[in-house]
């Protein structure tokens, strides 16, 4: 698993991260730098072509306090609608599943059912409640996700989860579309005299003018 994550994380170079100055120290690990988080990115056969990793999962060992910001585009994608409902039902979450290749946007009721089925399958594999699994999708607008390929890849994705930096970096690759670099960063700082860590990953290169709320 470790070697495949390492291979996946090296698929594209890391973006230069221009962090503002402040009382923090940059540390490796992206989304897995903070205590309790695991991640993985694998090739699930979702992209139109090539073998770049295209399926990522981030999990937390405990019920994590959750928050979300979502596009205000009226034609919101199925995963956006699903996540807003999930965050209204539950204040905590345990997992985020992200697929690249198809955006599952403008896909109607069938697209929404695809999201529900993916969340239910991840929840079953990880022994969580479905509303604790959040979903993000990116890729071609108007196309439904390649659900069979995605569902068949989930056991391998779950088995690849790792709290290592490679886990975070492989996930940062798997969420990209036309990006030329993977975007991942983590910092360590003090809050109330105790060390805390904040980390993250992102993707984006085109169709970029976010207005999230």
């Amino acid at each position: 698993v470790s070697s495949s994550l390492k291979e996946a994380s090296k698929y594209i170079p890391a973006a230069p991260i221009l962090l503002p100055e402040g009382p923090w120290k940059q540390i490796p690990g992206g989304v897995t730098a903070a205590e309790g988080f695991n991640a993985a990115g694998i090739f699930g056969g979702l992209r139109a072509k090539g073998e770049k990793p295209d399926l990522a999962l981030v999990t937390c060992d405990v019920d994590a306090i959750s928050a979300g910001a979502f596009t205000t585009n009226v034609v919101a994608a199925a995963p956006v609608i699903y996540c807003k409902k999930a965050l209204n039902i539950s204040k905590t979450a345990r997992a985020v599943l992200i697929n690249a290749g198809q955006a599952n946007a403008a896909t109607g009721d069938a697209g929404y059912q695809d999201v529900v089925e993916c969340a239910n399958t991840v929840a079953m594999l990880l022994k969580m409640k479905p509303e604790e699994v959040l979903i993000e999708s990116t890729g071609v607008v108007g196309q439904r996700i390649k659900k069979d390929a995605l569902l068949n890849s989930l056991p391998r994705l779950v088995n690849s989860l790792s709290s290592s930096a490679e886990g975070a970096d492989s996930a940062a690759v798997a969420i990209t579309t036309t990006d030329l670099v993977r975007k991942s960063v983590a910092v360590e700082s003090q809050v109330g005299g105790k060390i805390i860590r904040v980390g993250g990953m992102a993707k984006g290169s085109g169709m970029i003018h976010p207005n999230m709320a």
């Binding site: 503002p20 306090i65 979450a93 980390g199």
Partner: protein
Amino acid sequence: TMLGVVTTDALVNSDVWRKMVQVAVNRSFNQITVDGDTSTNDTVIALASGLSGASRISSVNCNEAMQLQACLDAVMQGLAKSIAWDGEGATCLIEVTVIGADSEVESAKIARAVASSSLVKAAVYGRDPNWGRIACAAGYAGISFDLNKLRIMLGDILLMDGGQPLPFDRVAASNYLKKAGEIHGTVTIHISVGDGPGNGRAWGCDLSYDYVKINAEYTT
């Protein structure tokens, strides 16, 4: 589309965390632009495990909350800038800072209007220190300000002051843009619109032929 996942081991109440995340999103991802198209899928999910052992943050108005907010802002800004840096066809990151408006929101709105301007973006790609286009974009942002207080700097070259265009070294200004493009670096545009307390920033990238090429081929 932009997607983000942010994690922390800080211990924070749900309502406080949700407020902090939206504030950080407004100071970062909601201040970037590549092409002016707001996606159907833009999402940021932020999870707090509470496993750091730090004390619980139960109000936004305490020191600990401000310390965590600063870290959250920094991580999200670092990621947001990397998205603008990697804009399709981009050769450089454009950072627009606006000071002097009546509020952070107003300054941020002017900054984003300038960063979003196709004419400003194309001028940067053409290595053209086109102060007129920058002033024009600031002017149509929807925020009123006294034109006689408009000041524009490109890098450390003053192009306008007191609303008046100034004589400046065009070759040096163009070379500043050329150099940034050669190293995929950052072009800074600094704008002052008055004496108000509001400061804001936005990030974008230049507009190249490749943007059209990439998107003419990336079809549904």
